[in-house]
């Protein structure tokens, strides 16, 4: 009896296999483990969770607020829930949202959802992400994304914005470059959306033409220059330095903090070594951009002398008398591009409120920088940062007490808003 049933079942199975193999030729088989696993990997590379998961909440259930100076935008629920998630969406609708910024019912999404970058991904990769999202726990959680006040809530204005700043289309490989380089470019410019933070933005929030990856202010942070600039960029970093940073969050120059710590934790530390190396190879090929090294401020300058005294008293114990740091524990400040960016926001911020460096599987200890807000007044913090930016061969514009005062207020507001 049993064998009879089996015999009947076999041809049916064969038929299913044939059908599914035929389907795969056009679109990936969304049920296959490989596709789902690949989708999980690409969703990690694209860091969808950064915005669509509330800290401590259900994965991808949305609801987290992205605060903007004009109001709040909530990241929607992208679990497969039929009513409140994307369970009922067709693949085309999903691709249209992720790659073209056109949401359900044809609405225009705001580019806080980085479709301008995801547009460079292949359709197959995006469908794989969908296949993966179909496997996560559906969560019933209705999110009304657009909380912006009038007139910012008028989505139609995005038509004009898209026309100006959005270049839709898949990534075009450069045949003159190696396969590795092309893989790196594909990831950096697409899924990983590194430029969202590292490319300077114009007043409209569009990428500034010709200044890709030259460093950009984020609110109360500064994402540094990643071009081949030897002064403020990655000109002196080796491919291995970059790989180590993206994998473990630290290298002989720096330890990631703030938004970069999250990008490392959620995304880059989970990529394969081959992909990290490809990204590093691509980054190392970026021609030096940005500004040339300025003249360092003289060590006879009163701010430098005062800053030096504070440095010797308060900072040298960890960062070393010569700013040399200790690899993996205390970032170096001398010859460190991060310290010599045009804007000192990240430095002021870290000295004021302290910072917990990233902890990754590869480097599980996240050392902390103590907060100095309670003991150093604005003028002292300004001078010590001016000093580290111009000592030991470093060179960067001075920091004023006013800059520090503004940051102090902004950070206190942020700390109050945090739950």
């Amino acid at each position: 009896m049993r064998s009879g049933a089996l015999r009947l079942a076999l041809p049916a199975l064969a038929l299913v296999l044939i059908v599914s193999m035929a389907a795969r030729a056009q679109t990936p088989n969304k049920q296959s483990f490989e596709v789902i696993e690949h989708g999980r990997y690409m969703a990690t590379a694209a860091d969808c969770t950064a915005c669509h998961t509330v800290k401590g909440g259900q994965p991808f259930a949305g609801g987290g607020a992205l605060e903007t100076p004009f109001g709040v935008l909530l990241a929607p629920n992208i679990t497969p829930d039929l009513q409140t998630g994307i369970g009922g969406w067709t693949d085309d609708a999903f691709v249209n949202a992720v790659q073209n910024g056109i949401g359900h019912g044809g609405i225009y999404l705001y580019p806080a959802m980085p479709y301008t970058y995801y547009s460079k991904m292949t359709r197959a990769d995006v469908i794989a992400i969908r296949a993966y999202l179909d496997t996560v726990q559906p969560v019933h959680n209705r999110v009304v994304a657009n909380q912006l006040p009038f007139p910012f809530n008028q989505r139609e204005t995005m038509v004009g914005w898209n026309a100006l700043y959005f270049r839709p289309g898949d990534f075009k490989p450069d045949p003159s470059q190696s396969e590795e380089w092309n893989r790196g470019a594909y990831l950096v410019e697409g899924a990983e959306h590194c430029g969202l933070c590292h490319t300077p933005k114009n007043a409209m929030g569009g990428d500034e033409g010709g200044r890709a990856m030259q460093g950009s202010a984020l609110q109360n942070w500064y994402a540094p220059d990643l071009t081949g600039n030897r002064h403020a960029g990655l000109g002196d970093w080796t491919v291995d330095d970059i790989v180590l940073y993206l994998k473990t969050g630290r290298n002989r120059y720096d330890i990631a903090s703030g938004p970069m710590a999250e990008a490392v934790t959620n995304s880059t530390s989970h990529l394969t070594d081959a992909d990290l190396r490809a990204m590093a190879v691509y980054l190392k090929s970026l021609p030096p951009g940005g500004r040339a090294a300025p003249q360092p401020i003289s060590d006879q300058d009163p701010a430098m002398q005062h800053g030096r005294a504070i440095y010797d008293n308060q900072c040298a114990a960890c960062h070393g008398g010569g700013g040399q740091g200790i690899v993996g524990l205390f970032p170096r400040l001398s010859a460190a591009p991060l310290v010599q960016q045009e804007q000192a926001a990240s430095l002021i911020r870290v000295v004021l409120e302290g910072s917990r460096a990233v902890a990754t599987a590869g480097a599980p200890t996240g050392p902390a920088m103590p907060s100095f807000a309670w003991q150093l007044p604005d003028a002292d913090i300004a001078d010590v940062i001016t000093y580290i930016r111009n000592a030991w061969g470093n060179a960067a514009p001075a920091v004023s007490a006013n800059d520090v005062g503004k940051m102090r207020q902004a950070l206190h507001r942020e700390a109050q808003q945090a739950p």
Binding site: T53, P69, L73, T199, Q219, R356, P364, T365, G366
Partner: protein, 253 residues
């Protein structure tokens, strides 16, 4: 939600004003200014210790000012005593100007004064030093009673003058007799009081300035102690060189 791209191009409020004038494209800017609200949290996935912005337990710094425990008369007597135990010289201020009396006043007003950490019940027996204080009086009461006894002794022996009003030579004579055990104050041998006073004065002189003594780190400068620094790796290999950095307090600076 974990934080993500915060606001390309938005650090500068001047810019947003500029933006508001260009109505057609307004929202886009808003959008790129993404500033998720919960940013500085424990990093997920990491095994790092918990961390909060502006974390820290700043030390409470004693401010000079009115006496907290002493009466004005007691304060004057203690200032006079500490200034003879550590007299000023041309290079270093004395115990009084270094704040030793302030240090003692503040510690007597706190847990030390009430012996809050010490077993203070009888029996009180002759004992070895290891067996600790063998007296019914906590330091605050002890100081108060001995200062009152010293005051009575001085007024009787020196024509109504208080200890603080005596010339230095006579102060030193009294202190010398307290130390060698030959002086009784109201029937109590003064030597134990001398010993406690000397110890507390030294502590006030050399303790971190946050406790009220060692003003301007004068004592540390005198002996070349660099204070609350905690890393000398840069100096381990440098011999026969003077360490150039001034002392610092645990309050910084």
């Amino acid at each position: 939600m974990s934080s993500h791209p915060r606001v390309p191009g938005h650090a500068d409020p001047g810019r947003s004003t500029m933006v508001t004038r260009r109505h057609a494209l307004l929202p886009s800017t808003a959008l790129l200014l993404v500033a998720p609200e919960t940013r500085a949290e424990i990093l997920p996935g990491g095994t790092g210790m918990p961390w909060r912005p502006f974390a820290g337990h700043p030390p409470e710094v004693v401010k000079p000012g009115p006496w907290v425990f002493f009466t004005p008369e007691e304060g004057a007597a203690v200032e006079a005593l500490v200034d003879r135990l550590i007299p000023p010289d041309p290079e270093t201020p004395g115990g009084k100007d270094c704040g030793c009396a302030v240090f003692i006043d503040r510690e007597l007003a706190g847990g030390y004064g009430t012996a809050s950490g010490i077993y203070m019940s009888p029996p009180f027996l002759p004992a070895t030093p290891e067996q600790g204080l063998q007296a019914p009086l906590a330091p605050a009461q002890f100081y108060r009673s001995m200062l009152a006894a010293l005051d009575q002794f001085c007024r009787a022996a020196y024509a109504g003058k208080t200890f603080a009003q005596l010339p230095d030579g006579e102060k030193d004579q009294i202190i010398t007799r307290m130390e060698d055990g030959s002086l009784q104050l109201q029937g109590t041998v003064a030597k134990p009081f001398f010993e406690i006073l000397l110890r507390d004065t030294r502590q006030g002189f050399f303790a971190d300035p946050v406790y009220g003594g060692n003003r301007d780190m004068a004592a540390w400068k005198m002996i070349g102690f660099p204070g609350a620094r905690y890393d000398y790796r840069d100096w381990v290999e440098r011999h026969n060189e003077r360490y150039p950095h001034p002392p610092i307090s645990i309050a910084g600076g």
